[in-house]
Symmetry: C2
DNA sequence: GTGAAAGCGCTAACAA
DNA sequence: TTGTTAGCGCTTTCAC
């Protein structure tokens, strides 16, 4: 069913039908009602391409997924972010255009978005310090919002971020309050903005209690199960092993728990693990069972907020940059039963 | 830069430039070379919408992500699948059009794909037995490939699936060979095709050794950490608790490991866990450390194969349905050290 | 309040 | 081998 046919059925011009469907005011209400009904009855949907060509808008938001040639790992928060953003997009008639590219080609993907006019805006994922994509997108004049921040120049662009520094500060304080003195940090790659902020929060909490951060207890790397396992195993084999782990991702935590399990017998006592990851959150319920509550996921919420912000920017590109800093929950998981060590 | 401008610069007609760029044979090589160079120099990329409108193809593949109103969980294999499929798409000039919808609206999403002509084909994720989407897509005449299978009518459509039955049969045999006699199965929802096949494999392996599957040791439900934790905890509290767990997803495994850890002291011995999930694979290296090798992920490979198959179907819609059955690796992870129980 | 016609940027008959 | 011309399905001036 195309507009022309619909117009013929209604014995109206294409123009009037189009106007009726798109909510233009100059259409008589009776006409509009009739048009709407017939359109619905025939399940008429305008051709996206034709509409885009005529309006200059594509009603799609671009997301670039860079596949690292190094480690072949997909950003684990991506699925949840998309779920949140997708809610907002779809209720506003937008689709998501995904471009999967080798990380070295990422800039090219944005250029292509621009020259092929296939998206109305983009979301930038996983920013590094001084991420070059920001200047690129500005020069291409593509509306964009960053999920996270890219270093200290925070006023130059719009972003939505979690307060990683504060979260890790609180998580570290939590463990300190339980009596832990040797707390290991298993962090993501420090080239990523969020990882640096997390470390700063961790260090600040230790320093506030006159504990000097120990490089041996701090690791920055790929957030995989393997890294979690290897590093936790190594740390637990030290002469004075950590009594608690602060871990930056769920994947790593799986490995950490394995290492703790294996070391459990020789260790002769329990070890605390605090996961601090954006993509899940725990809540204690009455049964003292941690519950996986994806609904409360900060990442999904970040996705929603990014999407809302981007659509507003697209509607009014001249507004100044905006930003949102989210506080995330503290997520606590014990490895082998409640294992706080007092004093 | 648009075709018209490019043609003017080159002092050629739009047609010739278009033909040169699209590899039509009737263009003189010298001309083509000249066109290519100038196009590159001006970073010319055709407008996707205009091209689509003229050719009738959108150069995009649709993926629908249903967000369950019930449990708000994103299909965990989705990210990896997209990574694999995306490789194929992008090297063939295709993009991914993502539509995030409430699960009850999923059929509508396909109808919209059709009537708005925004995709050239779709991939169906997470099929149920007798999934209604298959008949819908057939009636809409949208080319599609199913990731997984939808019950027994396997010749009616094209699919790529992992041999879930055989995988779980092997995994169960593996545990039986180690001497385990009480093996718990923590499975996904049985409305999902893959979960049913997995259970069948598990049961077949037990029955082959004259062990009657015990309903108390079998659970089918959401594949979340919470479910893994709850069910493992319950089972471990039984009078004769399982000595091994066969778990259907990574998320659940995290919960299972927690439960085993907590029960460890009272249990007084180790428990084996075998994860069998498509989205990860373990390989033992020299150090006897399981390695997370996303590169070898069956899901990513399935994504590639689905994409290849779909592009071939789009190119030649009249071919009969094809299918691929993948064998997946056996993935073994021990919970608290190597814990096989002999005899 | 409605319609005719031009045009968005491209491709593909048909001509030359 | 190249060019002319007519669409693809929609929106949007401009005229009525």
């Amino acid at each position: 069913m195309k507009l022309k046919e619909l117009a013929k059925i209604l014995d109206l011009s294409q123009t009037t039908v189009s106007r009726a469907l798109n909510g233009y005011p100059e259409v008589r209400e009776a006409t509009r009602k009739r048009v709407m009904e017939v359109a619905l009855a025939h399940n008429y949907k305008p051709d996206t391409r034709a509409k885009g060509l005529a309006t200059g808008r594509s009603m799609a938001i671009g997301h670039v997924i860079p596949l690292s040639t190094q480690h072949e790992m997909v950003n684990p928060v991506f699925a949840d972010f998309i779920a949140g953003a997708g809610e907002i997009y779809s209720s506003n008639g937008y689709d998501i255009l995904l471009s999967v590219v080798a990380d070295v080609d990422e800039e090219n993907a944005y250029r292509k978005f621009r020259s092929s006019r296939s998206v109305d805006g983009v979301i930038v994922h996983g920013p590094h310090a001084d991420d070059p994509r920001i200047d690129l997108l500005k020069s291409l004049e593509i509306p964009f919002v960053v999920h996270g921040r890219a270093g200290e120049n925070e006023d130059r662009y719009s972003w939505v971020d979690v307060n990683n520094r504060h979260s890790f500060l609180r998580a570290t304080e939590f463990l300190l309050d339980l009596g832990h003195r040797k707390i290991a940090l298993l962090n993501g790659l420090e080239s990523m903005d969020f990882a640096r902020r997390r470390r700063e929060g961790y260090e600040a909490a230790l320093l506030a209690r006159d504990i000097k951060p120990n490089p041996i207890s701090m690791v920055s790397g790929e957030m995989t199960e393997e890294q979690g396992y290897r590093n936790a195993k190594r740390m637990l084999a030290e002469s004075t092993p950590p009594t608690a782990f602060l871990v930056s991702s769920m994947n790593m935590t799986i490995g950490v728990r394995r290492a703790i399990g294996e070391a459990g017998k020789t260790l002769g006592r329990d070890v605390s693990v605090v996961i601090h990851d954006d993509d899940i959150s725990y809540l204690k319920n009455g049964d003292d069972i941690p519950i996986f509550t994806a609904a409360r996921s900060p990442v999904r919420q970040a996705g929603r907020l990014c999407a809302e912000m981007l659509l507003e920017i697209i509607a009014d590109p001249d507004q100044s940059s905006r930003n949102i800093l989210l506080e995330s929950e503290l997520m606590v998981g014990m490895s082998t039963g409640p294992a706080p060590i007092k004093g």
